[in-house]
């Protein structure tokens, strides 16, 4: 019987801590299985392109949609904030710096945790409760090699690609907004964009998006693999995958800012 926080707070906290610790242990176990499955290229190699298309290419429209409007809003809000106090070409600096360092990777990561993480958890969770993962094992397939490795590798490879595309479109949207709504010229916007730009910023964004790709796909796989029960269990796993990967993305975002900047 589950005990609520209000009825027995000590029991609730203790039970939650134990459950979380057990889950971290299980996640580590799946991580080890995944590492051990890496040499089975014959199993996951042919599945990788399909997963790259599903996780990466299919996510491009939503990532570009979010980035476009973020770029527009960034430019308008920067102009509103700078009015009279700061030269307007700083709009380019703010849009570029913020999109590359923060909003491009984080907003794309959060959007993809919903799209990709939920999809992986629901798919693998359904496979778990309908014994398809067991069936895979009886056919002498390593489930980690067949299901986890292609998804995680596709996430690690494709998240940076999607983030770079989204960031570029976001900056372009900020430029177009500056040009048509703020009476700025292209040279003005470019002056601001170049002002504080560092090549390291792009590397930083790529490192962040690599880690987000790993996080979203591995957490989606973990919750899918550990699904119990029926449709309710699949729903619960899907929700948990999105919530936990979103939280981890924000923690990682702070971690990379603290350690790399």
């Amino acid at each position: 019987m589950k005990t609520g926080f209000l009825l027995d707070p000590f029991h609730f906290v203790g039970r939650s801590a134990l459950d979380t610790t057990a889950q971290i242990g299980q996640w580590g176990g799946l991580g080890m299985d995944t590492l051990r499955a890496l040499p089975r290229v014959g199993t996951w190699g042919r599945l990788l392109p399909g997963q790259m298309a599903r996780i990466g290419v299919d996510s491009v429209p939503i990532a570009l949609f979010i980035a476009t409007f973020t770029g527009v809003v960034m430019a308008l809000q920067a102009s509103y904030t700078f009015t009279g106090a700061v030269p307007l070409y700083f709009v380019g600096a703010l849009v570029g710096k913020t999109m590359i360092l923060e909003l491009g990777p984080v907003l794309t990561g959060l959007a993809l945790s919903g799209r990709v993480g939920a999809s992986i958890a629901a798919e693998l969770g359904t496979m778990r409760v309908t014994e398809q993962i067991d069936a895979l094992e009886t056919l002498a397939y390593d489930p980690a090699a067949y299901l986890v490795v292609p998804r995680v590798l596709a996430g690690i490879i494709m998240f940076p690609v999607v983030v770079i595309l989204a960031t570029s479109v976001g900056v372009a949207a900020g430029w177009a907004t500056s040009l048509y709504l703020l009476d700025m010229s292209t040279p003005e916007f470019m002056k601001g964009l170049r002002l504080f730009f560092l090549p390291w910023d792009v590397q930083f964004a790529v490192i962040k998006s690599l880690s987000f790709g790993l996080t979203v796909t591995s957490i989606g796989c973990f919750f899918g693999f550990t699904t119990e029960g029926g449709a309710e269990g699949v729903g619960l796993s899907t929700t948990r995958a999105v919530v936990v990967s979103s939280m981890v993305i924000l923690v990682l975002d702070a971690f990379w800012a603290a350690t790399l900047l």
Binding site: T126, M127, T130, E131, Q132, D134, A135, L136, E137, T138, L139, A140, Y141, D142
Partner: protein
């Protein structure tokens, strides 16, 4: 399987389960729903590991095998799942061919040919390009059987092969199990709570009750058994089971 114990949390499912299956025979394990029949079967392919006791296939203790050795054992075992467990995203041909891809030297042509043979055996010719969602329950079970026999295993494990099927489809599945045994000379374990099926397909029947095999014997011996638990189950009389220890 020798003295196998398995618990899930506080729920002790197997409490000293022992059963030996001889080469070439078909053994049915019967028992009420929730008594751990499927749990016992999953131990045979290493899908579950016993808390204690040993499970041997071909004389090898599964608990002592490396992952690769376990996969080698699994290549000799076909498993027919209760709800077929066909891969939703793959066609029937791809489902059946998946295990064949693991066999070294199997060309695409050889796989396609073997898929056709298996589908013919389960009377599903022409269903190669269908997806599992397009099949009825009975057709899914037959496709699951086709997938299990595709690699020409030495052993076949059936988990509730006739549950939820109409009497005609049940007869078709029973005939398929018998035909598979005769044509492929496989050793089979059939989990069921359908006594009609057990009598038809099994050489020997084991009754699982409270985590242990309560009785084993030929169908005739089971029908003549005086044990109230066995009688209660085969005659559908719960009062006999409740009175038994």
């Amino acid at each position: 399987m020798q003295d196998v114990h398995k618990a899930f949390g506080s729920n002790r499912v197997l409490r000293g389960f022992s059963l030996e299956v001889e080469e070439g025979e078909t053994v049915a394990i019967v028992g009420q729903s929730g008594t751990g029949k499927s749990v016992a079967l999953k131990h045979v392919v290493g899908l579950l590991k016993p808390d204690s006791g040993e499970v041997k296939v071909d004389g090898q203790d599964l608990g002592r095998l490396t992952t690769e050795q376990l996969y080698e054992i699994r290549r000799n075992v076909g498993y027919v799942f209760q709800f077929a467990a066909l891969f939703d995203s793959l066609t029937i041909a791809e489902n059946i061919g998946l295990g064949l891809k693991r066999i070294p030297g199997m060309t695409a042509g050889a796989i396609a040919e073997r898929v056709r043979e298996c589908l013919a055996l389960v009377e599903l010719e022409g269903y190669e390009e269908r997806f599992p969602a397009e099949l009825s329950g009975g057709q899914k079970k037959r496709a699951g059987l086709a997938r299990a026999i595709a690699t020409q295993p030495k052993y076949l494990l059936y988990d509730e092969p006739t549950t939820g099927l109409d009497p005609v489809t049940t007869t078709v599945i029973n005939r398929l199990i018998m035909r598979t045994r005769e044509e492929l000379k496989v050793t089979s374990v059939v989990i069921t709570h359908d006594m009609g099926s057990a009598y038809k397909v099994a050489d020997r029947i084991g009754m699982l009750y409270q985590g242990v095999i309560r009785f084993t014997g030929t169908p005739e011996e089971v029908q003549a058994c005086a044990d109230p638990v066995v009688r209660g189950f085969i005659e559908g009389r719960p009062e006999l089971l409740e009175g038994a220890g």
